[in-house]
Amino acid sequence: MSFTRRSMLGAVSLLASLSLGVGAARAEDTIKVGILHSLSGTMAISETTLKDVMLMLIEEQNKKGGLLGKKIEAVVVDPASNWPLFAEKARELIAQNKVAAVFGCWTSVSRKSVLPVFKELNSILFYPVQYEGEESERNVFYTGAAPNQQAIPAVDYLMSEEGGGVKRWVLAGTDYVYPRTTNKILEAYLLAKGVAKEDIMINYTPFGHSDWQTIVADIVKFGSAGKKTAVVSTINGDANVPFYKELANKGVKATDIPVVAFSVGEEELAGVDTKNLLGHLAAWNYFQSVDTPENKEFIAKWHEFTKNPKRVTNDPMEAHVIGFNMWVKAVEKAGTTDPDKVIDAIIGVEVPNLTGGTSKMLPNHHITKPVMIGEIREDGQFDVVWQTKDLVPGDAWSDFLDGSKDLEADWVEKKCGNFNTKTGKCGG
């Protein structure tokens, strides 16, 4: 009901503006950018911040004089954590609001739901969250980490002398596509590294799982076999708080069984009493505590923009910063916001990231990022205890899975997101 009314209103206003003849002129005054993040529902907890950071970036760019001599205008919609609604809202942004690019999505399922829309209407999506890989689309740019930029280095670190020489592994995750795929990759990787099958325990829990007593007891039991044990956690946002509370209550310390998490950042820790979590780890490409001039400036601007000196920054925010700056550079390079031209122009664009390096957009639509391991501090921030020397290029198709190790994504030479190097054919 409301939808038809809204679209009717849209049609009416379109007619009105056409008849007045100012609509077209006005539309050329600004470049519109769509922001597709949930502001209500379960995912609002993570995505609202990303909407705010986008608004800040756009405001800043406008202060610098806009883009191609025009102001940038943000179009914010609320897909309300509802996956089909993501596709509807994406269509609304592209077809009705005529946005030049969209920044949005958090969960993989929401990304998958908007994919056909972006392909059909040929627009651009910047996706800022670490994900399971196994995808490369012409219309999507992945500014978050692929598994080889987060999961694999984290495991390498724990295996190393410095990380404690872990020999036994618990792969614990929430039961959905990201943990399942990541754990599949990790299991294959660990087996390839010579870890015995009985030294790997895999455990899945439902969304929002809140009673962790049995699982924590299992982990403790698994960890007391005399070999150094670590937990690799792909547990989704909301279930983490009760999980960490249970760990703390059972007295599991990071020096006994460290937990390295891929979905726990500064924002998630805001809801936890961290004094019992000292030393548990997280793997990201950015931490708020990273001490670089770029990061300090960014944090100061963020606090000023939100008027809240306590607001934390996190990894997906940095991904949006990089993604937005890359898009701006690509548009300037192409001299237009036309998606086809921007998609071609953005490959190879380099922008400084917030951790002191320069990230580059690769032909597979992923970017180069540093990988960092942080330990939780008492104040809810992370101490970076290890980081890669160079930036790691994102790999769309994992080299450790049977189905994907021969695949390669290259949108410059092969014009293909899943080129099979063995058969020499594009999977299409």
Binding site: S40, T48, S210, P242, N249
Partner: protein, 527 residues
Amino acid sequence: MRVFAVLALFAALALPAAAASLQETLARFAANDFSETAKAIDEIAESGAPQAASLIDALLNRRLAVTPDGGVFFTDAQGRAFDALTGSPVAAVPKGAQLVRTNNKLRGQIENSLGTLRLQAPDPAKRREAAEIVLRARDVSALPAVRTALSREQDPVIAKVLRETEAALVLSRPDATTEQKTLAISILRARSDQDAIAALRAATAGAPFAIAQEARRAIVAIEKRLEVQAAMQNVWYGLSLGSVLLLAAIGLAITFGVMGVINMAHGEMVMLGAYTTFVVQEVFRAYAPGAFDFSLLVALPLAFLVAGLVGIAIERGIIRFLYGRPLETLLATWGVSLILQQAVRTAFGPTNREVGNPSFMSGAFDLWGLQITYGRLWIVVFTLVVFAGLLLLLKATSFGLRMRAVTQNRRMAASMGIPTARVDALTFGLGSGIAGIAGVALSQIDNVSPNLGQSYIIDSFMVVVFGGVGSLWGTFVSAFALGIANKLMEPVAGAVLAKIVILVLLILFIQKRPRGLFALKGRAVES
């Protein structure tokens, strides 16, 4: 390590040299490199400098800082600042000093070395913890220290732990005699836990056949005992989960069970209670941080009031127009739940809010080998108290009598002069208020976010329907039955499958007995 000990000895003989060597040691901190810091820790431990213990303690607790010009400073637990080189107090740590970072490996190393040092600490809890750390680390060089501590220990409990520690260390020594090892195995067998198994397993490798055989036999015996323990532990987990379910469902047992209102906003009442706890704790943090442990006691009545008043408002504003129309009630209350969620999201933000555990609800204790966390224990006790209180209210007060009268036969009650509209509002307020105090308890184990209520609403309905609508005792039995069944199944089937199996069984059961476990009988129940 030994080289450094010798060096330290030399250093001690020539005092100026000692200062120089400590200076070199401290310079390692400036490198901001974990392996350098590790060396520095060893050197400090061997240096015998009077400030060594406090230095290492400061490093462990992130209170050791290096200035850009190479000065090293630390503060003690009271915040007084010291110069690390001389050990003398200074006014303050200079500005621009960087904290020295540690990682898990270093902290493990520090704890192990402190463990040996603390075996004779004056605080018995510290001594015991130290003994456990040494037992787990199984560093053979700690054996003399353990024996000295054992000879001086007065506390029988700690002496026992020390003997077990000694046994674990003896087993790791290749030069111990067979008798010593056999005795050690029997001591560890009596200890009978995972740490004992770990020590025994380490002893089987490379040991003479008889010893290895003996150790293996001990491991099997311990594992058998642990299995029984694990079963008991699962029952306890089930009780604890059941109490959470009961707590969440008990308010619904009144609004849905007794009044017959399908209240989809029930979960949001729980959420309001949790947010009330958050607000109360914020006030305590700001004005009375010393009395933080009492914050929950203050939060309880407030949460009851807040959720109860919102409940009364919902009843007066919406539900009273919809009595007898379950479908409309369902939709309307669902709308209310969305409104409340978004209102809280707007007021408090979409992110989780931190609710702290008071000290009496943190940690765990051992009961016959079962590890029981205080938080869970208190929730079980609290649930039973709330349940008993509610029963008493319904059965022994005039309000309870009126409530039962109205819900059983509205017109008859009205003719007797009972103001039914007011009783309805109060009953709904009572159910909501109880959901509110459930929120106080649940804020201790779950995250406080606008979505808190959603995760409990389905479980709550499940409990009430299974137990039999309208029966408080039915709700009680069904909550614990579901909790225990879930927890017994979880180790076998996994958390996801266990949940599915329970749901399927429940659906089958409802097919057989639509009125649940304890169906109400009598004229009040319309067929």
